[in-house]
Symmetry: D2
């Protein structure tokens, strides 16, 4: 059994990793930390899991991590991970970091949108953990930068089409919508029930830091410089993310060609479900799962394409993909711990 | 006091007209009909209004309408209104129809997307009731086709900019989101609590009948042939609609020029609130009101513009705009019955 | 026009008073304070009311209050009001306090459940502002302790029946449920969207400080010592409170006798709506209004009675009743500012 | 592998059985029927489960049931099951019926509250499937009447205390609250999103047909005639049920004695979680699981006890308990198919 630690296991993503590892056939949870809750039982904070999880929150203790874990998930705010990961990597542990600190190949982009990077040498060896796209690299990685939720929902439908040159590189628009859990567990005005309920709104227009992360990976797929217009919105619900993506078709490709391209690209990827004609994703269908559901439709002119993707922002958009990365890094079945059946409602 | 009748007062839009007329200083409700609930008190169906409304649902009785009303709202499904409105107009009554039957200037468009039109002569005299844009025509109208909810939310931000030639006529995309009340009061799978809750999805992609209604009015504003990509989505909330509109700037106009254009166009229109820089609409801010809130932002390149509009789909998107049309048709203060203060949450 | 000040106008109850006073025909808002938001426009915090409210938050400034107001609402946490109200009363202003500080006749009860009382002399002159029950006293009061939301919903159905000796004084159980806005505007774990959504739970069992407030007023009605079992619960919705109250009938009274008693007691009280047989309140029917809706049913044995009351916790349970108290204190129509028509949904 | 059929697999309970059997290690789904959807794929109706379920809905075909199944779940409305179950039992199949048709020992009670019973002989052999209480009987049963959701949530906390004579048999009150899925999948006004959202209400006061079902089983536990006051309410959420139960203590038992009684009674029952002092159930903690969480508190007088139980109405209240019954009937581990880890939110 792989011994798994989670640094920052009190937030929603951390708690989801706890859930998934608890049902993982080849991994067991041996260490969880939380500055806020150290000394408390995990199930005091997340009583739903009473009877399944029997661990106390520790402080961030590198000696314990060294002794008790083989691999570590980091679910802390940006900037902190790069200060602790080098030491953990140097112990010979593998690390999957859910922050943005190790997501960028071009570190100047990171530094422009976040802050100075203090562990550039380690960034050089890190791999962007978009599982279905970079699997080969992830297999050999010791340090994975787990993708953001919006990038996951936008990149998965676009990358195969850009690689196949079926769509134009210009005028890509992603209108994305997220459930409130994306705002994190720490109470804030935006996630107050009375602020979010009966409310729908856009935020961080032209200013969300997921934009450079998306663009860097679109560029790699297209081998060109791509700009995207990306608008995040907040939905009055807990979990789920849907991206409606507008692109122009660059070829004589018809809707079925595009669907075939996606089906082929994701043929052996159990977490991607491509929808058939006139069927479209619904966040409810992926709630609590690691699926990315994708639907599409071309307009009557055949020149415009709408792609719609749905994920659970906490699972495929965070904790689920993180464990999928773990599975790939250790050569385990990619679905280990992640194959719970979705609920009908 | 103007005597007001409502044909089809059991649905959500009809019930909202009841609410608004009940607080109208110059109009009183004298007749309401419902096939389903005839003989029942309105407040049996809508108990919230106990003590305010004391009317029973009648059958659709043209003699009663003739004797007891001056003006009639029709809140029935498409196709039925055109079969009864001619008789009511011929009585000398004014009519505000909330269906699509009298919204189109080009009746071939109506017939293509709905069904054969059976009252073309009356359609010739009808006016499209987008209040802020067609006020002059509405003042003289006897028959108003009240706009759809999506068209209202999309046309109000776009028309001034097209008229002023500040934006390009190509590549307009409206990504719109509606609360569940838009699906109507009749129980259906899509509006079941368990279908809608924790669910966000697109529907009728490239196929919603509001598209030709939007395009006809964009064409008028631009004096040209305009195509729009319009995608409706369903939000897990009762009331509210938000449209995120992507356009390209056709000029050297900057964000403030665009904001000024909107502010000028809507200067004397009490229901349009243009947001200042970096402030954006939220459906919660317009809930239960006749406001259309509009925010905007240009991207760093200065070439792309995002417009965001928020309305209450049942008020400015239906019943409220209908009463605003009434006010305009009778030369009353446009805000009569519509000036309740919004709730802070 | 009465000049109205609100100390603590940034929370939900304060903001609701702003809304109500803004539509009040005989009162105008002249002063609002907030420690957190001083210097900001009210509509920066509550943008829904843009165009209706044009006031900035001040500091708590007694000189301004002296110069600019006739009457002051206090919407601050318990303990602070008793430290500032004496000075305001001594200026000759009238005060309506929404905290618990001036709700108790028996100050030892207050001190047992809250803290030492530092303004006992002023408490002696304060009146408990349960409008329909203590109207005569409120008319002459300068200082009103506005009731808690749970007490309002529980006392209104019970007091007439206790006074008429129709029900037993023993074994009264109130199972109450509140929307999340009752937890206040300050972000907290309990009011986080993801904590509240798909969650229903009891809290503060046998330990809620509204219990002694309820009991003191039941005692007055029954002229005896009454204990109540009161259990608050949290509902996943923004506004609304419903109390299901279980009592035993103490007489040969039948359901209609009990309904008659309530109808008679509240005959001239516009905000109490007694439901007819087999009709029961729904929080949706009172949302945004100052109504208290009451329904009831006796069991087949005729010995047990269920009373159900519904209010909007922020209106009749806080801000609305506070303005109703203002209206009574100044001899104005009790419904001034409070007669907006309820929404059908 | 046990071959499992489901008659009525289009409703919510039926679909949940599909989900659970799909992850069951010793059972496989071989037959599902639906009158409404016959010929359609299950995943057309429940697309969340695409990739997991690959069955089409059949008609109710007894020959297929005979050939293809070992055991059959019936999830049809009351009255229909008793017309088809005899034939299936006579084939030698085992049957778990989710309707009320085979829940009553005293068939006159059934006939009083439902309709004439047309399969009394089969009712004589049926067992009430409240797993933790009647396990010994269920082990030998061929026909199980699966309990109602409200009865499950009310009986589980009460039965051990009645058997141990710790609480009085009089004055038991259960104030219960259910999510909207309890109203079923068929669209209806009560389950319309706009009816349920921001709404909380009681229904069927003194008139819910679960009352006689509850009382019959309380009687058995107490060996006496017990009447209960039971009030169901509707919560604006999809899944979950919470019962707040008020009883009087009949002894010198203190809170810990009562907790011990429950802990002992349920010691070897993996789905019952008794909460420690001052911790109380929340429906969110049991969402999607087969748990019944129970909390309790005595009042300062030591005479009154509040019990709070939480279940997922579709799982422990329907489909989950049904599969638990299956597991018991076939001597399998009681948790087979039911041990998915709860979500942290």
């Amino acid at each position: 059994m792989l011994r798994v630690g989670i640094i920052g296991a009190s937030g929603y993503a951390g708690a989801e990793i706890v859930r998934i590892i608890t049902q993982h056939p080849h991994a067991k949870l041996t260490f969880i930390s939380s500055r806020q809750f150290k000394g408390k039982n995990f199930t005091e904070i997340y009583p739903a899991m009473k009877g399944f999880v029997n661990l106390k929150y520790s402080e961030l203790d590198l000696e314990k991590i060294k002794a008790e874990t083989d691999v570590v998930f980091i679910a802390l705010p940006h900037k902190i991970p790069m200060s602790i990961i080098p030491a953990i990597i140097d112990m010979g542990k593998k690390v999957i970091d859910l922050s943005a600190d190790f997501r960028f190949s071009d570190i100047t982009k990171y530094e422009k949108h976040y802050q100075p990077h203090t562990a550039k040498k380690y960034n050089d060896q890190s791999v962007y953990g978009l599982c279905e796209v970079y699997k080969k690299n992830i297999e050999k990685a010791s340090l994975v930068g787990n993708p953001g939720c919006y990038p996951t929902s936008i990149l998965l439908p676009l990358i195969p089409l850009l690689k196949s040159r079926l769509i134009k590189k210009e005028s890509i628009i992603a209108d994305s919508k997220s459930g409130v859990s994306g705002a994190g567990r720490t109470p804030a005005h935006i996630s107050h029930y009375c602020s979010a309920s009966e409310s729908f709104k856009a935020y961080k227009i032209y200013a969300h830091r997921h934009t450079p992360e998306i663009e860097e990976n679109l560029n790699k797929a297209a081998a060109d410089n791509i700009s995207i217009i990306f608008t995040p919105h907040l939905i009055p619900m807990s979990r789920g993310m849907l991206s409606t993506i507008y692109v122009k078709i660059d070829s004589s490709a018809c809707e079925n060609d595009i669907r075939d391209c996606l089906n082929n690209f994701y043929a052996h990827n159990p977490f991607i479900r491509i929808y058939s004609e006139n069927n479209f994703p619904d966040t409810q269908n992926v709630r609590g799962t690691n699926f990315c559901d994708i639907g599409l439709k071309t307009d009557p002119s055949g020149q415009n394409l709408i792609l719609i993707s749905a994920i659970d922002n906490l699972v495929k958009g965070a904790a689920g993909q993180a464990v999928q990365n773990l599975n790939i890094m250790y050569g385990m079945d990619e679905t280990s711990g992640l194959n719970n059946i979705p609920y009908p409602l």
